[in-house]
Amino acid sequence: MPEWVESIIRVAIAIGFVLTTVLVLIWLERKVIGHIQQRLGPMRTGFHGFLQSPADAVKLLVKEDIIPAAADRWAFQLAPALVFVPIFLTVVSIPFTRTLVVRNLDLGLFYVFAISSISIVGIVMAGWASGNKYALLGSVRAGAQMVSYEIPLVFSILGVAMVAGSLNLETIVDAQRGLWYIVLQPVGMFIFLVASLAELNRTPFDIPVAESEVVGGPYVEYSGIRWGVFFLSEYANTFIISALAAVVFLAGWRGPLLPGWLWFLIKTYAIILIIFWFRATLPRLRIDQLMTFAWKLLLPLAFVNLLITGLYLVYDWPRWILFVASVAVLAVASRLVYVVGRA
């Protein structure tokens, strides 16, 4: 088989997998949040509502597609694609197992962050093109939020790259033989999760799409499948960020007994469930508090983490020192959350 045919097959499988995952995730979220709220979630479409998300998808497909008169036609139509494509491009370099990967890039980590931050353009475009004030407000919020959180996100992952000595995701997983990086880099993991929640527009950082404030933010004027694409990319993004966290901090497919892909899925879904759990519990921050949190707390914290990791590498400290130092930093930071937040 020529190489290009193989690549196409791999890409098709990866995209198909992500699309199915998204359908499962939407169903899972409704079920999990339902049970947290002591109700049942979808029950009547298929067994325990299993066909709920396919039904939603088909319905959105055959729904009328409205382009408002006040909208900028071109930008309005282009925006969903601009959100959707980068997210699927990132799938390319996520290793599910050592062999189950579309293309193992040497700069895999760099590639993922570089590509996924493009999607913000689509969101801002959607908000601006809609010709709606709520959409505009939402997209301005989204822009501000994504730009600020991109920085701590990248810095948090830099510590891992330093310890592993590579940006290749496969090498990073291999380097976690015996010891997962969640132990060596708890601060990194914490910042990564918090910042990625903000990247994903999820509670408690769902400010751009806040239902009770800006009525769905940038997507307020979208209907039918165009809106469905936004919805889909949001969940695809959730999956990819969780998968990335599983690869970088939880040693991806590594684990005893069970096959690699299963370990990978278990770890990914554990992180996804935590995200759902947060969503069902926490209220939302205000935009200025969000900025304060990013610039005054997360960013310095990421720098401290980098500093400690650097010292550890330069002076060749034993591993436990890195662990203890990181935990100490986290403890101080958790106190600071309160102090800085009130300021």
């Binding site: 979630g41 979808p42 088909v58 239902e211 769905g216 307020v220 209907s223 039918g224």
Partner: protein
Amino acid sequence: MEVVWRESPSLALANGHGLYHHLPGVITAKTDYLFAMARKSSLWPLTFGLACCAIEMIGAYMAEHDLDRFGVVTWPSPRQSDVMIIAGTAVKKMAEPIKLLWEQMPLPKWAIAMGACATDGGPFQRSYSTVQGADQIIPIDVYVPGCPPRPQALLYGIIKLQEKIMAEASNRKAAV
């Protein structure tokens, strides 16, 4: 009681353009059925309460009745919703916004009038400022009487609406 319904004009419109007329009848009938199944299982109402009935409508979304079981979840924007549940009194000042919201919803769309006020004025029938029934403003598919109807009554109304959606699909199938 005799059951009479009129086909939702919105549905006819939504199916009446594009490829639909060029496909053989067998295929359209099958797809109609599939689409109707999908539509009835994911009726997304607009977050929109007018008066007292809104409380019972909210109650229907909550844990004890859980409309989510039917795939019904609310969306704040009319662009993403399929059903408008008019829960409460539509007064004359509100009539214009209701109409606007209805027109902003994409096809196919349905409307449920919940409560006596939305059905035909109810306790405020003789008032100078209310619209005597929401069907004076927009076409209503299912009327749920009661003042206010208990959440289960609304659930029954939604089941009725699902039946209607399926019946419309099979009516068309019979016509083919």
